[in-house]
Subunit: 354 residues, 2 copies
């Protein structure tokens, strides 16, 4: 199968062993992604005895796949500090293929901490980017937005936030096709205080930088669903809190609705009329369609699929990776960050805030 | 009317001029609260020319009210740092009545920052409590929980968080009638990092303290709606982010549903069957029923009603105040915090974390 990858094709490296129902879900997901992206090739890492029998069921996919055997894998309970030492896991090898230039992006549904740690170690942060970030695409009322960082960095300074704004801007352009994304910093608007100092400094930096970003200032979390910004920037702790609050509440409301309908005979009678609406809402909020958190700021794109997703969900994560590779996402970040000197700007920002 | 307050009655001090539709909404709200709480008395501060004509329409309420005239008021755009200097505003005078012992709690629908600043200045923080906090009662799937701090303190150390846990525990007992509230610290659970250091230290402190709290460790935001904790503790920045993410998402889902039903003729036909369910959900999530953020940790209770609420919403805020006064909420906090030495505990916690 070697010749599959010998052309100048777009190649995605895949950890076949990551996730709750691997390798079956991974391969079924790849089959879906391959059908949508006939030019993409896949470099699979995993246990041949487990992967091959399933891969053999997908003849079309098999033609665009190369499988490399490894009997070792990262488990969910493994500590990131330990897994980075084992170069023989399917996850490590899949990431290393990007470093070697054999693939342009890696997708895994495995242990998030391990994926982050190995990706950072192996792919390394882009020169001039101080910290990589985790980004997701999320739905608002009338479209989609990107939010970062969602948990790679608990504490961030103004430079980190400004870099996230830059990377988020590029991601929104490339992944969402928005010409001039509106970028905002997540903050609180309580009268007594105007949020954290590093956020105020980041606002100054972004305004003063020759970043060419459509910066809209601060956004409060309750404004996010109204679609007033395309890129929401936060430190990893805050972003993670907002993301999980949003996810939890969406599930709660849907659950409350289900419970209420179940408890009402009249409502059950009305259900057939509502089927269309229910499907519409379900589709709008289907977490599978927003699967694939992207680890950005590294020399190569690393995408984390939800561990419990199904084939459709996994194919969305792979589709995101393919789309961004096609658009030269990593190279664009490198070029854009070259144009500005954030360290110098941060000094100016600190000076101006005081 | 002086004799109204001369008895040993429960007295709530009210800023009649705060909020978008004051004093009408305030007085209509008080009328509702008075009907439910025949033993409560109200000390109103506001412009007599504006308040009296409306108060005259509510004969029953008028009997349990004393109105004190002031022509000055705090406006929404006023800076907290300036309003604390003017002792003649309806808000300042209403708060000062609590300090003087004329009332046990103050309710205002005015400027949040001003209410916080004046309350802190006038009522002062309880001895041994380092920082007051803003608390709200919120709905989860099967009941209610309290969350604090929602914005009084952007940055918090472990002692602050431990104190919030203590105050939240007492509030859940008194306001929600939960015998032994389950208390949890809001945190993120990303594999790579276990949240912020001050949260880890606070967890140690709470475990080691003789606080007699049913401490359940960390909670992630998406678990909140499942009702696994009765008290959620966070710093003011994180709490505010979570609160507004939850509110915004709940509104988004309801909005999506409305939009979808409007766009479907079939769904419109089914609506009559769904009316019961819709009312049930609306009632479950009605923000008016959760109105009244409480500013706790001061020598007296200060309650902030939403500025845009209606009479029902205002009456809920007043009802919360009455309920907590009846339960001796402030005295209980004073007694409980006397039993523990948090400063000493914080040293131990820091020692143990390292």
């Amino acid at each position: 199968m070697e010749q599959v990858l010998s052309t100048n094709n777009l190649v995605i490296s895949v950890d076949a062993m990551g996730g709750d129902n691997s390798p079956r879900v991974v391969i079924e997901g790849l089959a879906l992604a391959a059908k949508k992206n006939p030019d993409a090739r896949f470099l699979l890492f995993g246990d041949e005895a487990k992967v091959s029998p399933i891969l053999n069921q997908f003849a079309d996919l098999k033609k665009v796949c190369e499988l490399r055997h490894t009997s070792e894998m990262v488990h969910n309970e493994d500590k990131p500090s330990l897994v980075i030492r084992n170069r023989n896991t399917s996850m490590y090898m899949a990431i290393d293929a990007v470093r070697k230039g054999e693939a342009q992006a890696i997708v895994s549904a495995g242990n998030t901490g391990a994926l982050m740690a190995i990706s950072k170690l192996v792919l390394k942060t882009i020169t001039k980017i101080h910290r990589p970030a985790i980004v997701s695409i999320m739905p608002h009322r009338t479209g989609k937005y990107v939010m970062l960082d969602l948990g790679a960095n608990t504490e961030c300074n103004a430079i980190n936030l400004a870099e996230f704004a830059l990377m988020g801007d590029i991601l929104a352009k490339h992944a969402l096709g928005i010409n001039r994304p509106r970028v905002a910093l997540l903050n609180i608007g309580a009268e007594e205080m105007k949020g954290k100092e590093e956020i105020r400094q980041a606002a100054h930096m972004i305004k003063n930088a020759k970043m060419n970003i459509d910066f809209r200032g601060y956004i409060e979390p309750h404004e996010i669903p109204n679609g007033v910004a395309d890129v929401i920037v936060a430190d990893g702790f805050t972003g993670n809190i907002a993301l999980k609050s949003i996810e939890g509440t969406a599930r709660l409301v849907v659950r409350m609705l289900k419970d209420a309908v179940r408890g009402s005979i009249l409502a059950k009678l009305g259900l057939p009329f509502m089927i269309g609406v229910i499907f519409q809402i379900k589709k709008l909020m289907d977490p599978r369609l927003y699967n694939g958190a992207m680890f950005v700021g590294l020399n190569g794109l690393s995408v984390k699929s939800h561990g419990g997703t199904d084939a459709l969900g996994f194919s969305v994560a792979v589709g995101n990776a393919i789309h961004l590779v096609r658009q030269n996402f990593v190279a664009t970040i490198r070029e854009e960050v070259e144009k500005i000197d954030l360290d110098e700007l941060s000094q100016e920002a600190i000076y101006e805030v005081y």
